[in-house]
């Protein structure tokens, strides 16, 4: 897969480094709170008046907080080829950022192969319309 020639499903949401991709978040320079997506103007911490943010790559590994799948084709604007192939979905806890981020699970990984607490890493894969998206892929046991 050559990520460089493919366009992302959402512009600026993740780096296009196909080997070590990162989601792109924002970090409040006042209180340190992270945000994903990064479009943020005013810090949402109720005791922080921060208005300055730096773009930061989010941790590209984490642990599964919970998981599920899409057994039916999602409605538009999702684009799916026929016949629809179900895909797994994971909510992944990032330790450094102390936040949970949703995403599809890498193609070919069935829901039965997932477990809460399992280590995963971020990968880039095309959606059915060819646009690149971020997905979570289980790491071999013992990693990271």
């Amino acid at each position: 897969m050559d990520a460089k020639v493919k366009s992302p499903v959402l512009e600026g949401w993740f780096t296009l480094d196909e080997r070590q991709p990162h989601l792109l978040g924002a970090r409040c320079t006042t209180c340190g709170t992270y945000y994903f997506p990064k479009a943020i103007k005013f810090c949402r911490h109720p005791d922080c008046a921060g208005e300055q943010f730096e773009e930061v790559p989010l941790s590209r590994t984490g642990r599964i907080w919970s998981y599920t799948n899409a057994a039916y084709k999602p409605p538009e604007p999702y684009v799916a080829s026929e016949p629809f192939v179900p895909f797994a979905i994971a909510a992944v806890e990032l330790a450094l950022e102390r936040m949970i981020v949703l995403g599809q699970v890498a193609t070919g990984v069935p829901v039965e192969a997932l477990a809460v607490g399992q280590a995963v890493e971020l990968v880039l894969e095309p959606l059915d319309d060819g646009k690149l998206t971020w997905k979570w892929k289980p790491l071999p046991e013992g990693q990271p």
Binding site: H45, Y67, E76, I89, R98, I100, L102
Partner: protein, 393 residues
């Protein structure tokens, strides 16, 4: 000074997929509530509507729309929108008017006509709208319910059989409810045979969307005494608090939670009833029955714990032991819940209060919870909205 108000009348239009104008449902529910209360429409001083976003301008100004349909008579008017909590906010507006002395008797109405098929975002390419974005990458509403359900299985050992028991129970409860849309008893085998939607949730674990309407006539305690209804059930608390940063749960339509690097995580669902208990000056030990937002079977278990009705992680055991059935120690969703109704957003929170009203009056027929004295509702929807209402006798 007591902050209670009296519930003089309750009325509903049956839930279904009728495909008619929401105003018709609302007026039928309002007239039923007025008839139940004995209050003349001319005597209503405040009309409080819960808005619907799916029916054009008349839905945005639902309070005025219903008032016009009932016949303009010069009442003050209000419309509230707060997603699933819209009905509770419309009720809260009526309570404020009554307690401030600006009116004595008010009519609260919520009604909806829902579109057919999947709930989907507005059309167009809108990457700044979190609701559009999550559908673009394949995250639907059942995704969130399923993530919460799977989390329960991992943390507490809940099983698919436990979730199915919730559906079987609610189907039994709603079987004789004339306002319920689905009145059919199901077995655990029926649930297990229904199609998988979002693992571990099957079609019968997830609620539908419906048309329907609910209405309440509420008044000051003085007014209730004047019209010979001093023993009417009372609204003792209405909680409509926002979440507190950092919210610990990934909520529709977001793709990420708040980051908790600078603040401890907080549970929104648990905060809603906490405020209601404080306001009513009672605790979970005083509750006779609960009406909770079972968008999924598993979510009913979360609510049971969030309401403080059992320790965290033990709700499935209560269901297994039959404690949440009518006749059990603490019945949940005696109405049949969303499992039997389907969700009619602006009407749903009011429908929960209607059910508590009938239960506390002893008028719930085959689904009567014996000796019901205090009931609590709970619901939660998009964008930080939720509510919890306590009704007592």
């Amino acid at each position: 000074m007591s902050k209670d108000i009296a519930i003089l009348g309750a009325g509903m239009h049956p839930w279904g997929k009728w495909g008619r104008n929401f105003v018709e449902y609302g007026v039928i529910a309002a007239r039923a509530a007025l008839a139940d209360s004995g209050v003349n429409w001319r005597d209503v001083q405040f009309v409080s509507g819960a808005a619907t976003m799916r029916n054009g301008y008349p839905g945005y100004v639902a309070g005025a729309t219903f008032a016009q349909a009932l016949g303009w008579q010069g009442a003050q008017v209000n419309t509230s929108y707060a997603a699933c909590a819209s009905g509770s906010q419309a009720l809260a507006a009526a309570r404020s008017k009554i307690l401030s002395g600006e009116c004595e008797v008010a009519l609260v109405i919520g009604a909806d006509t829902t579109p057919k098929g999947f709930l989907a975002p507005q059309k167009g390419e809108r990457p700044d709208d979190p609701d559009w974005v999550r559908f673009r990458v394949g995250i639907t509403n059942p995704t969130y319910f399923a993530l919460y359900a799977r989390r329960r299985m991992a943390l507490y050992g809940d099983t698919l059989a436990d979730f199915a028991k919730v559906k079987v129970k609610n189907a039994e409860h709603g079987f004789d409810n004339p306002n319920a849309r689905y009145r059919k008893k199901f077995t655990a085998e029926d649930v297990a045979a229904s199609a998988m939607v979002a693992d571990p949730l099957r079609l019968m674990d997830i609620c539908a969307t419906s048309d329907g309407a609910a209405a309440l006539v509420v008044s000051s305690l003085d007014y209730a005494r004047k019209v010979g209804k001093k023993d009417a059930p009372r609204v003792a608390a209405i909680s409509t608090v926002t979440p507190r940063f950092a919210n610990d749960t990934v909520e529709m339509p977001d793709l990420a939670t708040d980051s908790a690097v600078a603040a401890e995580t907080q549970s929104f669902r648990a905060a809603l009833p906490r405020k209601a208990y404080e306001e009513a000056g009672i605790g979970p030990e005083d509750i006779s029955l609960a009406e909770v937002y079972d968008l999924s079977t598993a979510l009913e278990l979360d609510w049971f714990e969030d309401l403080g009705l059992c320790p965290r992680g033990e709700a499935a055991r209560w269901v297994r032991e039959g404690a949440t059935r009518i006749g059990g120690k603490l019945p949940v969703n005696a109405s049949g819940g969303l499992a039997c109704f389907g969700e009619a957003v602006p009407a749903q929170a009011l429908a929960q209060v209607c059910e508590l009203t009938w239960q506390l009056r002893g008028q719930a027929g085959a689904r009567q919870v014996r000796g019901a004295k205090v009931g609590i509702t709970a619901n939660q929807g998009l964008f930080g909205h939720g509510s919890s209402v306590i009704v007592k006798r």
